[in-house]
Amino acid sequence: MNFYRLIDRHLGKILVAPALIGLAFVVLYPLFMNIFMSFQEMKLTRPDAHGWVGFDNYKALLGDPVFRKAIGNSLLWTVLGVTGQLLVALPIALLLNVDFRGRGFYRGALLIPWVMPSVVAAFTWVWMYDGSFGIINHILMQLHLIEKPIIWLGKKDTALLAVVIEHIWKGFPFPMVMLLASLQTIPKDIYEAADVDGASRWQKVMRITIPLIMPTLALCTVFLTIWTFNSFENIWLMTEGGPLNASETLTTYVYKVAFQSFDLGKAASSALIMLSMLSVVIAIYAIFISRRQEVR
């Protein structure tokens, strides 16, 4: 009997332990390796020139105008990407929450962008954006909205925006599903009670729905921010950071440093800078949830 009591007392930690141990294992090791490498000169193409260089890598990064541009682009990319995804996901989730016939089909159909393999999605959009083969230009010209095709991915002012649109399109189903799940756990009685009190639809959404899904919404925002900030494949496949660094984000920059210049030390330093930027986001979220805890 004592054994069960012991388990019961520490059940929380026991439940949590496997996940923690597994994660510690596969995350702490690369993290420490990375911190170590960031202070080293480690170009794979010059095996003889390895060694400790202190903060040189960081200085080189911050002195590189392309790196600074990448920081700016990453921030812009993240703000646009996250806002866009949420702005598309939330209204659709609200629509799908209404009990109408066949909504299962619509839920599935709207999931498609997210499920499509990212390489195919990227190529499809490159193709759609193309100046000669692209259907987007074709349609816009048929509608007489433009006269000549716009080279979306080839012009400095439109490249980043064009990739953001693909990112929003591909990513929104995830927050949509999350928010929908959260909406579905709101008991119907609360709405019924509000109806009894004569609440309008708008009031119900603002006073009941949004506050109740706020935890999920906040968490979605955090994860979307992290993933959008760290997203690499779609930008790389569509523009590789070009033209002329117009869509260069920190992720494409890191990739180029690691796999074109083979400078692992510098790549490690860039990764740590990215990590610190994201930690700010996490810190803000941590404050948010601790405030919520107090309110509870």
Partner: protein, 444 residues
């Protein structure tokens, strides 16, 4: 409770199946060495060397481009069987790997740096200097003494790094110019007399542009340096000096070549969409759709165009001469991985597959051998192939310095883009680019 327990049981059973089943059943004709790849934490431990009564059998893992060994009927697989028959103590396992800079080259680097990696791989010619400088492939200068002079100069350059030979060249693919013969006739040009000089090329492109169609095109998605190199060399310019320590692409000849090719963009002889094109597909399709009348490409486009059953008459002609004829070389080399279990056996294979008898393997893929006697390949009788085979003698390889990729993508291509996008001053931009390139070259 019972449901949970049974779920847990099923789950653990599946987990066990994943551990045991995968490696053991990983055998098929193409790559059954999954079982032997245990550990790999120490070098030279990536394949078993099993003892049998007759003698030591060596098992080599060889990476090939996925499409070269898609099934047992592939000519390459047939050649492998012939090799194994002739060398009973060497067994070769092909591992078809997806071609791509990150899916192939980086995978190789990761595996070798992780202590393992294959014994032999096919490598794109442009990767060899990097792989050599990282120590991920082995020099074979001594072993290859006997066969070195059997190959053309250009392809040999692609496997040479710091004076040492790091592999044997297999396929050589130079570029030539594809042209729409019907469009030529419609524009009043003679399709049997394609352009031989820059002037003729420019005039033809101009005559062929109009009515929504363009005379020329290039792959501008990164900047267009691959398409530009032939023109640089045709003008008599150079990328780097002989030691590879100084950049020379701001010379008057180089500037002349930049003005020639990218001048065509400014004159709108090239479709604006070409600035985003990153694949041969786009050029092939634009050509097939009649949008462009001429473009540079290698023999690889012959297959695509032939199978597209184009409605018009088309052909290929040799790169024109500026001061001289020149074109750029792509291709494949065979190299030996640094963690190979048996360098001699590995060398035996690559010498075998690049010898004269096996030239036909390449012919069956419609590729050109890098050997000097490639004129004896059966495909030589095809007049279009002949153009490419003849082009090898003036084809140049890209520089064999490991920082070429960096210089190309970070310095050269941006410079070309600036000239096209921002209408930047050519001499100034190239001077600036040379300065940056020199910094990269000296740091190496």
């Amino acid at each position: 409770m019972k449901k949970a327990v049974s779920l847990l049981l099923i789950f653990s059973l599946m987990l066990l199946a994943a551990c045991g089943g995968s490696g053991g059943n990983g055998g098929n004709s193409a790559g059954g060495s999954g079982n032997q790849k245990d550990g790999g934490s120490t070098a030279n431990q990536n394949s078993d060397v099993s003892q049998n009564s007759g003698g030591k059998t060596v098992e080599l893992t060889v990476w090939v481009y996925d499409y070269l060994a898609s099934d047992d009927n592939s000519p390459l697989v047939q050649a492998k069987k012939a090799f194994e028959d002739a060398n009973p103590n060497i067994k070769i396992n092909f591992q078809p790997t997806v071609y791509g800079t990150s899916s192939y080259r980086d995978k190789f680097i990761t595996q070798v740096n992780g202590g393992a990696g294959p014994d032999v791989i096919i490598s794109d010619v442009v990767w060899v200097p990097q792989l050599a400088s990282m120590g991920t492939i082995l020099p074979i200068t001594d072993k290859a003494q006997g066969v070195v002079d059997q190959f053309h100069e250009g392809p040999l350059q692609t496997v040479t790094y710091k004076g040492e030979l790091y592999g044997l060249p297999w396929e050589a693919s130079p570029m030539a110019i594809y042209y729409n013969k019907d469009a030529f006739r419609a524009a009043g040009l003679d399709p049997d007399n394609p352009p031989k000089t820059w002037q003729e090329l420019h005039d033809a492109a101009k005559a062929l542009t109009g009515g929504g169609k363009y005379g020329f095109a290039y792959m501008g998605g990164w900047g267009g340096s691959f398409d530009w190199l032939p023109f640089l060399w045709q003008a008599g310019g150079e990328l780097f000096d002989a030691e590879g320590k100084t950049a020379l692409f701001n010379s008057p000849e180089a500037v002349e070549s930049v003005n020639f090719l990218f001048g065509m963009v400014k004159e709108e002889l090239i479709p604006p969409a070409a600035l985003t094109w990153k694949s041969w597909d786009e050029l092939n399709s634009a050509f097939g759709a009649g949008l462009i009348a001429m473009y540079q490409s290698g023999a690889w486009s012959l297959n695509s165009l032939n199978s597209a059953n184009l409605s018009f008459d088309w052909g290929v002609f040799e790169s024109p001469a500026g001061k001289q004829q020149a074109t750029v070389l792509g291709g494949m080399d065979w190299v030996i991985g640094a963690n190979t279990v048996d360098a001699d056996a590995a060398y035996k294979w690559i010498e075998f597959i690049t010898n004269k008898e096996n030239m036909e393997v390449l012919s069956k893929f419609n590729r050109i051998s890098a050997r000097k006697d490639n004129t004896e390949q059966s495909i030589f009788s095809d007049p279009q192939m002949k153009v490419f085979i003849d082009s090898i003698k003036f084809a140049k390889a890209r520089p064999s310095t490991p920082v070429w990729t960096e210089v190309d993508y970070n310095v050269l291509q941006p410079a070309l883009l600036k000239i096209v996008h921002d209408d930047a001053d050519v001499q100034q931009t190239m001077d600036e680019a040379v300065k940056q390139a020199n910094e990269l070259l000296s740091a190496n």
